[in-house]
């Protein structure tokens, strides 16, 4: 395969920011040359206006619905959505039914995902059944391929469990992942507590539900050591705590949800249930502070937070609708428009946070655009416009607020 006149976006490559021709043979990058320097007599030649290439993107925050909730999205549909959105790898939360709390589940899912067009990775649960009580067999799951441990949609509540997990995982350098949530403060909340929640009469979740737990997370991490990845961080107060945190024994990384860094809760003014998320979208001033944190380099990676919901779970009154939105297909376009085009971060930074960022946090092999490297690439056109339509849905789920909208920034394909 020959890719002609493509701009390389990869700060770790010698060809970064250059327009080149790229030759791929047997899944390996076999030659990189000046435009027109490589013979174009190949079986497949890709040549598109404004084409960019980067190491394939990795999404570290995908809610897996299969097994257990196949009516929302099957594994194969998730793979198609990810490939469409430019993601060569996805890291799935363990909240399937049954939950991923033992090694056999990981083996089984690896078998099922092997023939699919992208690479799947899985998190194991911290606790048996994700019930927040007893530790699950983390070492066994890590041996089977688990990239980290999280109770996912049921954020850690027990300080005791968290302490034991942070300590125990150090025996095998396991990674603990959680959203910081204080359930006694967030319980029953429908959206962010703000001027908007007052106007809508919806029960708000105060930012301190996240930041107070964040403070506890950091104290635990400082005390116990170990590796903690917090995602998403959607509270400026929590970001401040992270910024001040220094602990020689511990490793702290931070993930940002694209939706939470692009939208504020004014999008809920007409009770649009597709923007109902947990944690909730913050208000305009909080969003600005989060974007400042993104500019200051406080986030190690960005993820989509893709969470398919069927019509039965979403086409309901706001209070009854389940949280979550389809995001894999549109993650890049949304971030491109709201973060890059609006001048918050550069395209280079966005691509770093989607490619090298998650690989580093989750210990995946590094991947760079150089001769002799495995071709694991995302081809995209930041200036191309396209309309997100039903043709781009691969499961019965339709829970995207962007359906029917013209978006800017298109993925041509992912090679992995």
């Amino acid at each position: 395969m020959l890719i002609q006149g493509v701009k390389i976006i990869d700060p770790e490559s010698a060809f970064h920011a250059q327009i080149c021709d790229l030759l791929i043979e047997n899944g390996i990058i076999s030659a990189i040359g000046k435009p027109g320097s490589l013979a174009a007599d190949k079986e497949e030649v890709i040549s598109e206006e404004g084409l960019h290439v980067s190491p394939a993107w990795v999404d570290s925050g995908v809610v897996l619905a299969d097994p257990g909730f196949e009516h929302k999205e099957k594994l194969a549909a998730l793979a198609k959505a990810a490939a469409f959105g430019g993601f060569g790898r996805v890291i799935c939360y363990p909240n399937t039914d049954p939950v991923i709390d033992h090694a056999q589940m990981i083996h089984a899912l690896q078998q099922r995902s092997k023939p699919l067009p992208i690479h799947f990775h899985f998190l194991g649960t911290i606790s048996k059944g994700a019930k927040g009580k007893e530790l699950a067999e983390a070492y066994d799951m890590q041996q089977a391929g688990a990239l980290g441990f999280s109770d996912g949609l049921h954020p850690l509540q027990s300080s005791g469990l968290m302490l034991r997990a942070l300590q125990y995982y150090q025996a095998f350098e396991g990674l603990l992942l959680s959203y910081p949530d204080e359930e006694s403060l967030s319980h029953g909340g429908q959206m962010n507590e703000s001027a908007q929640s007052v106007k809508l009469g919806l029960k708000g979740i105060a930012e301190i539900a996240e930041s107070s737990r964040m403070a506890e997370f950091l104290q635990m991490l400082d005390y116990a050591g170990g590796r903690l990845h917090v995602q998403p961080v959607s509270s400026p107060l929590a970001l401040n705590l992270i910024q001040q945190f220094h602990s020689p024994e511990a490793s702290l990384t931070v993930g940002g949800s694209i939706a939470h860094l692009c939208f504020d809760d004014s999008v809920l003014s007409e009770f649009d249930e597709n923007f109902k998320l947990f944690p909730p979208l913050r208000d305009a001033s909080q969003l600005k502070a989060l974007q400042k944190g993104l500019q200051d380099g406080l986030y190690d990676l960005l993820f989509s937070g893709h969470y398919a919901q069927s019509l039965e779970e979403k086409q309901l009154e706001f209070a009854r609708a389940e949280p979550g939105m389809l995001m894999l297909q549109t993650a890049f376009s949304i971030a491109n428009k709201h973060l890059v085009k609006s001048g918050i971060i550069s395209l280079d930074t966005l691509i770093h946070l989607l490619s090298h960022g998650p690989r580093k946090v989750f210990g995946l092999p590094s991947c760079s655009i150089a001769v002799g490297q495995k071709a694991e690439l995302t081809l995209f056109q930041p200036e191309a416009k396209w309309t997100f339509s039903r043709n781009h849905l691969f499961s019965p789920a339709q829970n995207s607020p962007f359906l029917g909208q013209e978006l800017e920034g298109k993925v041509l394909r992912v090679i992995c």
Partner: protein, 302 residues
């Protein structure tokens, strides 16, 4: 106005035209023959997914006095308990050729949700902790009878502000009409960000009553509180209950409203509720006229 989803979605001039129309209907309902043919051949479904006595009867009387055909539905006798979705329930009823829906529903935004999916006109008779627009309209209509105009009028709303759709709709309506609003209640029942609406906030009942020209004493709605926001009704009453002693100490003609039903002895004592200064029964009478006006204007806007 195609629907009445909330006071938030209508303008000051909409409110004034509702009041002017209600003036006429108030005359009508005080005549020996209380019925007019305005809504003949219009079918209205009253869908009550939450218990209600006075609002439902008030709407039903308003509809019947306009000669509409009326069907009633209440959640207790319905398919809701069998797990049917709101959209299915309403679509089934609309398939029987209903022109207008008057709905009360426990979930905030239920009417906005419905308006995106159905063609019929929708009147909000209360959606959870969001809005109760006809209550705010009848409260303001009653204040207008007492005070004539709203510019500079000071109205206090006392009680559980967090869980009250009456409070929110009243704030929007009073502000659109030019009145000043202060909310007062236990700090646990006043939203942290309520000030963003431009209202004053106080935790002191006496001070609030000294400030106010009129006060709307909300009912404490224990059914809407998932956890205990104050220790006991006794203590609530000690801090925020309105009794004769406080009223006399003010030495002024404070006008007292209450959306009903009253918890006598909790937010308001019987002596106060039955006093000259309380216009609680005027509110109920005006409710029918105001709802007739809303139905009439919406039918005309179709």
């Amino acid at each position: 106005m195609r629907h009445l989803l909330g006071i938030k979605y209508i303008s000051e001039s909409d409110i004034h035209s509702i009041f002017q129309t209600a003036d006429n209907f108030k005359d009508v309902i005080n005549r020996p023959i209380k019925k007019v043919p305005s809504l003949r051949d219009t079918t209205i479904a009253n869908l009550f997914f939450e218990n209600s006595t006075r609002t439902r009867i008030s709407f039903e009387l308003a509809e019947k006095r306009l000669s509409a055909d009326v069907v009633n539905f209440s959640a207790s006798s319905s398919s809701v308990k069998k797990g049917e979705t709101l959209l299915d329930t309403v679509n089934n009823i609309l398939a029987m050729k209903v022109d207008m829906v008057v709905m009360r529903h426990p979930n905030p935004g239920a009417h906005v949700f419905l308006s995106k999916h159905i063609d019929a006109q929708i009147i909000n008779a209360g959606d959870g902790t969001h809005e109760h627009p006809t209550q705010a309209l009848l409260d303001c209509f009653s204040l207008r009878e007492k005070f004539g105009e709203f510019k500079g009028l000071k109205v206090a709303i006392v009680g559980d502000i967090t869980h009250s759709r009456v409070a929110l709709s009243n704030i929007f309506a009073l502000q659109k009409l030019g009145a000043k609003v202060r909310v007062c209640g236990p700090p646990t029942l006043i939203p942290k960000h309520i000030g963003s609406l431009g209202v004053e906030v106080s935790y002191d009942l006496k001070d609030t009553l000294r400030w106010a020209d009129a006060v709307n004493m909300l009912r404490i709605q224990l059914e809407r509180q998932d956890i205990a926001y104050f220790p006991s009704l006794r203590e609530y009453s000690q801090l925020y209950g309105l009794d004769k002693e406080i009223l006399d100490s003010l030495k002024k003609d404070l006008v007292i409203l209450h959306p009903g039903p009253i918890n006598r002895g909790v937010e308001i004592t019987s002596e106060v509720a039955d006093s000259e200064q309380a216009i609680i029964l005027d509110q109920v009478e005006n409710g029918v006229a105001v709802r007739m006006a809303v139905l009439y204007l919406l039918a005309g806007a179709k």
